[in-house]
Amino acid sequence: MNIAAIYRREMRSYFSTPLAYVFIVIFLMLAGIFTFYLGGFFARAQADLEPFFTWHPWLYLFLAPALGMRLWAEERKTGTFELLMTLPVSMGDAVLGKFLAAWSMMAISLALTFPIWITVNVLGNPDNGVIVAGYLGSLLMSGAYLAVSACVSSATRNQVIAFVVSVVLCFTFLLLGFPLILDLFKPLLPGAVISFMSTVGFLQHFDSIVRGVVDIRDLLYFTTFIGLWLYAGAWAVDHHRS
């Protein structure tokens, strides 16, 4: 129940200020601009959401740290961190409740992109199964980005530092699965290391889900990745407390 209390407290704080609205508006506008201008939605003339989902890894690269940076850093800055620690909530509840609230913000933003789904259905005859998979993959990836940001936020009091370090870390995990980077390292590193890099990176798992196949290995990757970073976040909070 304590998770729910923390979750409600966080959600209230999002919507009592313009923060939630600003975040969602920026998310929606960027997603749309990327789809239509960078993704060449009309030029491709295909009734699918590939140009929409292709840009999500890059969209989350900045938006997830922006949302995640304040999770703990702000508590510490405003002094509410100590107050939170005196409440009868466990460390796990606090970490999970905060993370779930931020992830819900991502989910709400993603859900509000529904006009693009309607658009492709009006324009042509898309494979809606692939679109469902795309949304699932996108949501899981946003969770992974957020978990990294939440962890970094718990380690510092300064939100700007939290943002920059989160972006760098997320960018590293994005690049690890990037074909260009893998190709670059191919002649330098053994095959097993290259394969490990692509397994640990976001992209391979995201691409696999977005093409319409929900593989348990990809689900396992995202859940264990989120779990690991949330644990590391709790670890950092615990160290600060003591």
Partner: protein
């Protein structure tokens, strides 16, 4: 575990190691735990393919030649190539080491390019003077035999799995498919019951079949040889009961059959007026055992696809549509079946209509159908000097689309519940017949075509004598239909089960419709304007001739005015035409702008309005307090 242990550095290290270990071991262990959400399971191999792969005895090497760089400017093809690669990787993964896949990039002037050329792959020049682009597949068996797809065409994407599985199956099973031909018509030439002393020329279809298959004409009619893979039964109405019994038992034993059952054989009625009409007999029982019914002596007449024929009537040559002769087009040929999807036109003559019996346990998949502007005609009328014009005058469309050919699959019982036909049930022959089966052990696999005349030369091929050689020039795809069906039936049942995949090409139909409508509008307008222009031109010509008649070198003021009118009209017409085109582009651009606005701005705008509204309400409440 206490908090101290959980949040110790060792705990953190253990978590990282656990994460890596779980994800690295999950790779090979959980390979097949997945859900394919795509329409038609696009990323999963069909059961048929998996069966073929699991039965592989020897290793087959697949080499995919794909020029990555040459395709840099072809994003569509790159997407397709990625899908092809993924499909092939899945073949490799599912074959338990029996498929070895290599992806080769044949760069210009490289050894790999020589290898591609050596296999006979087709290099395509994407740009003028640019590098060749290779996108072909070569499959090689352990004993060195190889088969290729010279260039993987994106428009055959829905058959890609079938094409690869067929290649693998052919390499794994090198023997030709054996076709047993049981025919009441003289397809393979030789004497006929009508002309016992005169040998007939074999039909062209027979030549084609001999090239592709190991064909054995079954003469004894009582037992089908065991090594026959597919039985082809032509005009069963003309066959003896013992021959039909042999066919029945062959099918129940799991043999596949292609049956051409015809309510009216035009070949027979052509040689003997009045003959060829099939009356109810054992063959109907045979079809009924497979869950099929075909009305005896009734043929399908179709107004939409009937062929035009010329005939002499009252010393006059008349050309009319002859209802029972059908020239089926694409829309009446099943596009989802591998065997028929690529066929464009098929000629049938006095074909019957197939329906499922009420107690049918088999499934029926129509392969060929008539249009809905068709009806059933009395066959007896066709076998004596038919009058095409009279048939036409009596035509009344039934609104029903009749099935002319169908694939039958499922459990079936024998058409001879009392055992073999009585007169054959004696002595040595009984031993040969083997054990009498009352029902099929497994699902039967039969294709029934309700016409045998489509095999006759005159309905699908023109034969020319070219310096003593018979040259066959096909006018219709009839032979391809027969070969495809035999090929597929003769393959493993796994090959038959491989369904065609859904195409992943999904165009913006709305834009297509808008531009088609606009195009139509443009054409109408263009016609109207062109006729206006012609009218103006005619007037001008009239004036010109008047001027010549008057022998005056000058134009009269009236002529000058008309000339000016014409010029202006021409300019106006051009402008109007340009406007129509401009309007079309503007319609689409306007639609695109709206779509962009809805997707980029609409929801954010509504959110801002909502946020401002709720802020104002809150302020007012606070003010009230």
């Amino acid at each position: 575990m206490d908090r101290r242990t959980i949040f110790s550095p060792v705990g953190l290290l253990a978590a990282v190691i656990l994460f890596i270990a779980v994800n690295l071991t999950a790779g090979p262990v959980l390979r097949w735990a997945r859900v394919d959400l795509t329409q038609g399971d696009l990323h999963s191999l069909s059961d048929g393919t998996i069966n073929i792969l699991q039965k592989l005895g020897n290793t087959i090497t697949l080499k995919l030649f794909w020029s990555e760089e040459a395709a840099a400017d072809l994003p569509g093809l790159k997407v397709f190539a990625r899908r092809v690669k993924e499909t092939l990787q899945e073949y490799e993964a599912r074959a338990g080491g029996k498929i070895k896949l290599t992806i080769v990039d044949p760069k210009p002037f490289s050894e790999e390019e020589d290898e591609a050329v050596g296999f006979g792959l087709q290099g395509v020049s994407v740009q003028e003077g640019g590098d060749n682009l290779y996108f072909g597949l070569a499959a090689t068996s352990e004993d060195g035999r190889s088969l290729i797809i010279p260039f993987i065409q994106a428009d055959r994407e829905i058959f890609f799995e079938y094409d690869i599985s067929q290649m693998i199956h052919t390499l794994a099973n090198p023997e030709k498919v054996k076709v047993g031909l049981l025919s009441a018509l003289p397809i393979s030439g030789g004497p006929t019951p009508q002309n016992p002393f005169q040998a007939q020329v074999p039909w062209v279809i027979s030549d084609q079949l001999n090239r592709q298959f190991d064909v054995e004409v079954i003469l004894s009619e009582k037992v089908i040889p065991e090594d026959v893979d597919v039985l082809m039964v032509v005009h069963p109405h003309g066959l003896s009961d013992s021959a039909l019994y042999a066919a029945d038992q062959f099918v129940l034993r799991g043999g596949r059959a292609l049956v051409f059952a015809d309510p009216v054989s035009e070949f027979e009625s052509g040689s003997r007026p009045g003959a060829g009409l099939s009356e109810e007999g054992t063959v109907d029982k045979l079809l009924a055992a497979w869950g099929l019914a075909m009305e005896s002596g009734r043929v399908v007449g179709d107004m939409t696809v009937s062929q035009r024929v010329s005939y002499r009537d009252d010393n006059q040559v008349k050309t009319v549509n002859y209802l029972p002769w059908l020239a089926l087009r694409e829309d009446l040929i099943n596009r989802e079946e591998v065997t028929t999807a690529q066929l464009d036109n098929l000629n049938l003559a006095s074909a019957g209509s197939l329906t499922q019996t009420e107690d049918a346990r088999t499934s029926l998949t129509p392969l060929l159908s008539s249009s809905t502007r068709s009806m059933l005609l009395d066959g007896s009328y066709l076998v004596f000097r038919p009058d095409p014009a009279k048939l036409l005058s009596e035509f009344s469309p039934s609104g029903v689309s009749f099935t002319l050919a169908a694939r039958i699959k499922g459990p079936a019982a024998t058409a001879f519940p009392d055992g073999p036909p009585a007169d054959e049930n004696a002595g040595e022959e009984k031993k040969q017949l083997g054990e009498h089966l009352t029902k099929s052990a497994d699902d039967i696999n039969v294709v029934v075509v309700a016409d045998s005349d489509l095999l006759q030369d005159r309905f699908w091929v023109e034969v020319q004598d070219f310096f003593g050689q018979r040259l066959a020039l096909p006018m219709a795809d009839n032979a391809n239909l027969v070969i495809n069906l035999l090929d597929q039936l003769g393959g493993s049942s796994d090959l038959i089960g491989i369904r065609s995949r859904a195409s992943t090409f999904r165009p913006f139909e709305l834009f297509d419709r808008v531009s088609q409508d606009a195009d139509l509008k443009y054409r109408v307008k263009e016609q109207e304007l062109v006729s206006r222009l012609k009218e103006a031109e005619r007037k001008l010509n009239e004036l010109q001739s008047q001027r010549q008649d008057s022998e005056s070198p000058e134009f009269t003021p009236e002529q000058e005015e008309e000339l000016e009118n014409f010029r202006q009209e021409k300019v106006k017409v051009r402008r109007e035409l340009r406007n129509v085109q401009f309007e079309l582009r503007r319609d689409i651009e306007r639609l695109q702008a709206w779509i962009k606005f809805i997707n980029i701005g609409l929801v954010p705008l509504l959110l801002v309005i909502f946020a401002v509204g709720s802020w104002a309400v809150r302020r007012r409440k606070q003010g009230g307090q």
